[in-house]
């Protein structure tokens, strides 16, 4: 079975600073994908970034980047130049070749402070 663990229930960061959200996962599959989703107060869940497990290079999307450590099964999200609009719940998720189900972590509530 796949599991995803987010050990930081809540975090805060000053506007314009950098913050890193942690995620660890466990799967016995070799072929899988990792995702970070953002859920702002509006409740609309949106994709932030995705990473293919067989790619060594860390994915980046503008101010968002990941640190993917495959051996450690770690997939952290770095947000640079934090903005007030980044305030949201962030969920880490995995899908594997054994099943197409998304397995989500418990989420990290991030607050960006002015």
């Amino acid at each position: 079975a796949q599991t995803v663990t987010q050990s930081q229930p809540e975090m805060s960061v000053q506007e314009a600073e950098t913050v890193t959200l942690s995620c660890t996962y466990d799967t016995s599959e070799n072929n899988y994908y990792l995702f970070w989703y953002k859920q702002p107060p509006s409740r609309q869940m949106i994709l932030v970034i995705r990473q293919e497990a067989y790619k060594q290079q860390n994915a980046t999307e503008n101010r968002f980047s990941v640190n993917f450590q495959k051996a450690a099964k770690s997939f952290s999200l770095k947000i640079s130049d934090s903005q007030l609009g980044d305030t949201a719940m962030y969920f880490c998720a995995v899908t594997t070749s054994g099943t197409y189900k998304y397995i989500f972590g418990t989420g990290t509530r991030l607050k960006v402070l002015a």
Binding site: F35, S42, R43, M45, L47, T96, F104, G105
Partner: protein, 113 residues
Amino acid sequence: DVKVTQSSRYLVKRTGEKVFLECVQDMDHENMFWYRQDPGLGLRLIYFSYDVKMKEKGDIPEGYSVSREKKERFSLILESASTNQTSMYLCASTPVGLNTEAFFGQGTRLTVV
């Protein structure tokens, strides 16, 4: 603009009532999902469907059933609502594929009194 639409944003029902939560997607996606979101527990999968009339249990199917008679519509049914089913319910859809983005509805906050 792709869209997953849930029929209600807020819903209040009485204990013992039969409750229907409807979800419609306009992207011709094969896969559809129902999740329950609770504080500290994240998103937990209730049921998912990978084709019309096909369904599989997720991690917490007890007390729920689903129906998918048409590709675009996936319904979650609470046969006899109980107070412990008070929660946020999220519907999502994806096309076939491992790396595909999941598209979510805006959620239904269900309160059972």
